[in-house]
């Protein structure tokens, strides 16, 4: 009996142990299933390019209207969604109607006020993102691609992207991933239409007073001119001391402008014959640059508060005529100068009262050697079509249309209309409204009408945002010949001989002769988890501090000592490794561009 009891107890304990094991196993399986359910879908599904019926006639806009409305959900970046939807002047609604009636396309554009990188990381983590994301950084695009969230566009481009491939030319190769496929496109790519880049600007009316026959052409010439202007105008109307220049980014603008005048490309001197690169800190030019800027500071040409000044403060100082030069960003001279004075002083304003944008070159170099004005064909922003897209073919067809000459122009300037800034004449010319030929009223006659009344620029997904001119990749002969340097945002009225028709613009840009230099091969991307990214961040921080110390050195000797110290410090922190990395990226870009 006792044995039977023991046997029974033993059986029960085995049974209980088995139940316990099953419970543990079930729990483990549940946990695995829960986590497993969070993994991405099996990417082994075949990618269907398009289900759309593509037969039909091409309409006047170069588009085959689909039977069903093509709905595009786009995350367009940082911005005010409420303002966009409010559409105060009805421009967005007008463009929406045109897209629906003429293309049978509806675009749902989403903006968020938070940082785009942060939002995208959240989207990645939650898996909640739309079919198209544009205006994202290259690094974020690569993140999406690495996680299989971005669709392979290669085949779709071959089938439907003839305009895109034409307008990109060989630059399209640079968007290829390591597997040779294309998962991203560029946003607002193209040739830089600007006349000016880094600026060594000066108050034109005050420079005229000096009676110089010729504008300065070197940084030293700039220093001399600024010094004389400040001697003639030591205080402004409010009795405040005047200075030649200030900064909104802790003196970095002085450095960037000087490096550009010396032919450096993004901090490096590149020797085309040898393919070598050297950082400015490791060059004698770097010391020369440091000494000159330090001299400017010691002699009172640079605002002593330049390290604490923000954009609004700088604008106030320029507009109140406390800052008489513009050393760095060219358009600061416009917003802080004549664009303000022309509206504020109205009757008494004269066109000579402005900052002239001036290009200079280092001694021994020519203007062609400088990098004051650069062109980065692919720009810094990217567009991807995500795995949430249900019809890649149709989306690619739309993007292809957007990259046609007419589609590009409509995306930037709104649909042609007698109430818009442009229309299509009977002979096919894209004629602009006479009102926009006056530069002084651009804000009201062009920007307001184009953007707010006609929705221009509201939906630019993967469009060429730069110079719409005729060359081997594009043909914009139809654009009204009265305007030039046309982009999706801007234009400049010109005479028949190509010179600017506005006298003020001729003064502003008449002394800027630096040609645009293509620096597309010098694009560098950094993997957040790579050691070199930390090195780069460390060096950026160190150079920012050391540059500030160099500028504010009390004497020439101290400046030279600080420069040498900065050089040694940065080399010890891995500057040469970083230089090697930048060089390798440059070489890789060239190989990609050449299709290797």
């Amino acid at each position: 009996m006792q044995n039977a009891y023991k046997k029974n107890v033993y059986k029960k304990s085995i049974y209980k142990k088995n139940i316990y094991k099953k419970k543990v196993l079930a729990l483990a399986l549940s946990v695995v299933m829960i986590f497993g359910g969070c993994t991405k879908k099996d990417s082994g599904q075949e990618q269907v390019i398009s289900n759309a019926d593509l037969s039909g006639e091409v309409n006047e806009w170069g588009w085959v209207i689909p039977d069903e409305t093509l709905v595009l959900d786009v995350y367009g970046g940082e911005g005010d969604q409420e303002n966009l939807m409010k559409d105060e002047y009805g421009g967005k609604a007008k463009l929406d109607e045109w897209l629906l009636n003429n293309l049978n396309v509806q675009i749902n554009w989403q903006l968020y006020s938070t940082s785009m990188d942060e939002k995208l990381n959240l989207m990645l983590a939650s898996g909640d993102y739309p079919a198209i994301i544009t205006n994202m950084t290259n690094e974020m695009a690569d993140k999406f691609i690495a996680q299989g969230k971005a669709l392979d566009l290669t085949e779709a481009l071959e089938q439907y992207g003839d305009n895109i491939t034409r307008r990109y030319g060989d630059y399209l190769n640079m968007l290829k991933s390591e597997d040779g496929k294309i998962y991203k496109l560029a946003t607002l790519y193209g040739y830089n239409p600007n006349v000016a880049g880094y600026d060594f600007g000066i108050r034109y009316d005050y420079w005229e007073e000096l009676g110089e026959s010729k504008m300065y052409e070197t940084p030293e010439g700039y220093y001399e001119a600024l010094k004389k202007v400040l001697e003639n105008h030591p205080t402004n109307a409010n009795g405040q001391t005047t200075y030649g220049a200030s900064s909104t980014n802790k003196g970095q603008n002085f450095l960037k402008a000087m490096l550009a005048a010396y032919g450096f490309i993004t901090d490096y001197k590149y020797d085309e014959s040898t393919g070598d690169m050297v950082h400015w800190l490791n060059t004698e030019d770097g010391l020369e640059i440091s000494m000159l800027v330090n001299k400017m500071y010691r002699e009172g040409l640079i605002d002593p508060d330049f390290l604490s000044t923000d954009y609004e403060t700088l604008m106030t100082k320029m507009q109140s005529e406390q800052i008489l030069g513009n050393f760095g960003t060219w358009w600061y001279g416009w917003t802080g100068g004549h664009q303000f004075w022309a509206t504020q002083e109205a009757e008494s304003y004269t066109i000579e009262k402005r900052f002239a944008n001036v290009s200079v070159h280092a001694e021994g170099l020519t203007m062609e050697d400088t990098t004051l004005l650069t062109a980065n064909y692919l720009g810094s922003y990217r567009c991807i079509i995500t795995d949430k897209c249900t019809d890649l073919g149709m989306v690619m067809r739309y993007l292809n249309w957007e990259n046609s000459e007419l589609g590009n122009f409509i995306a930037g300037w709104g649909a042609p209309d007698e109430d818009n800034v442009w229309d299509i004449a009977e002979d096919g010319t894209w004629v602009v409204d006479d009102d926009i030929l006056s530069v002084d009223t651009k804000e009201t006659t062009f920007h307001h009408v184009r953007e707010e009344l006609n929705g221009g620029g509201t939906y630019m997904i993967a469009v060429n945002g730069q110079w719409m001119r005729t060359d081997e990749t594009q043909n914009f002969d139809k654009i009204d010949s009265r305007i030039d340097r046309v982009s999706v945002y801007d234009y400049w009225p010109v005479n028949a001989d190509g010179s600017f028709s506005d006298e003020g613009i001729n003064i502003s840009w008449g002394n800027y002769t630096a040609p645009a230099k293509d620096i597309s091969m010098f694009n560098v991307s950094y993997d957040p988890n790579a050691e070199i990214t930390i090195t780069k961040q460390t060096l950026t921080d160190t150079i920012e501090t050391e540059w500030a110390r160099i500028i504010t050195a009390a004497s020439e000797e101290e400046c030279e000592r600080l420069f040498t110290e900065a050089r040694d410090k940065c080399n010890a922190l891995g500057l040469e490794d970083l230089t090697e990395y930048v060089k390798s990226q440059h070489d890789a870009n060239i190989a990609k561009f050449e299709g290797k």
Binding site: K143, A146, Q147, Q240, P304, D305, Q537, A548, T552
Partner: protein, 311 residues
């Protein structure tokens, strides 16, 4: 025996639920909010131990253990950053902690009610001003063409303007002063209400015993608000590694970076800005653990020495 104690405790809790159900109902919303927004997100700290990539399943990310902390302590200048953090928060805790108490005591001595209320209101208005505005005010005051330099030059005390915001030696003082100016009134509120709770009869008794004004403050008011002071101190000590973020970014310049860079600004640049979220989380977790440890230690010391404790 143990299970009997446990069941007694459970019964007590159940009894409390029954007798104070209305209070529990009121608190439940707050408790759920704290649980959802404060405790549940703590689980996210797990990414500190992984090489987390947003969008990737956590189990697909590489487990790296303590590598983020090793990376942090291997960064150049990390000890300088620690020094700055401790100095800035130390100044804030020493001077910044004492100032509201002194202010509350002084305010308590004012008998003119209207004047007292006006001063009190003015004192806590700066609390509502954002650091962006404060930075602009500081620039206007301390810039080379600012008011301070103008006054000093006008009276002939200096010949050339002083660049206050670019002087390393002045940065901590400027930062601490602006912190005190901003928080003084607001922080004093709790002490003012604690002082209001001191029994007035004690002051009368003190007068009878011959205590003067200072005597009453020292022997009556301060001991009366001592529990408040100690409890707030215990809570504040957990913030010893939080030395601010916006003020450094707004007021700091490259010339003062050596003294303003603290853990938060450092991690922002080396973590968040370059997308290393695991790294940023790891340092944040470290700060929280250290802060919590200090609070526990301070609580224990307080319990032993003064018989007062937070928990």
């Amino acid at each position: 025996m143990k299970s009997k104690k446990k069941s007694n405790k459970i019964n007590e809790i159940i009894k409390s639920f029954k007798t104070q159900r209305q209070m529990w109902a009121i608190c439940m919303v707050a408790l759920v909010w704290v649980l959802v927004f404060c405790y549940v997100p703590m689980l996210g700290n797990i990414i500190a131990f992984f090489d987390y990539v947003p969008g990737k399943n956590l189990l697909d990310c590489t487990f790296i253990g303590l590598k983020n902390w090793i990376d942090f302590f291997s960064l150049p200048d990390v000890w300088r950053v620690f020094r700055n953090t401790l100095v800035i928060s130390g100044l804030s805790m020493s001077i910044g902690f004492v100032a509201p108490i002194i202010f509350a005591l002084l305010l308590n001595e004012i008998h003119h009610t209207l004047f007292k209320k006006v001063i009190q209101t003015i004192s806590y208005l700066p609390y509502f001003i954002s650091w962006v505005v404060v930075a602009s005010i500081l620039l206007t005051l301390l810039g080379t063409e600012g008011n301070i330099n103008s006054i000093l030059i006008y009276f002939g005390w200096i010949e050339k303007p002083i660049s206050f915001l670019n002087e390393k030696s002045m940065f901590w003082g400027i930062l601490t002063s602006s912190n005190i100016w901003k928080d003084l009134g607001w922080s004093a509120i709790i002490y003012i209400s604690a002082i209001a709770g001191v029994d007035q009869e004690l002051y009368q008794a003190g007068s009878v015993d011959g205590l003067g004004r200072f005597g009453k403050v020292w022997h009556i008011t301060l001991p009366g608000i001592a529990p408040t002071i100690i409890l707030l101190f215990i809570m504040n000590i957990g913030n010893i590694l939080n030395a601010g973020f916006e003020q450094q970014l707004l007021i700091g310049t490259p010339l003062t970076k050596e003294v303003y860079e603290n853990i938060d600004t450092y991690v922002y640049r080396y973590g968040v800005q370059i997308g290393r979220y695991s790294f940023a989380t790891a340092v944040g977790l470290m700060k929280s653990v250290i802060g919590f440890g200090l609070v526990v230690i301070a609580n224990k010391i307080s319990a032993k020495v003064t018989d007062m404790r937070l928990f």
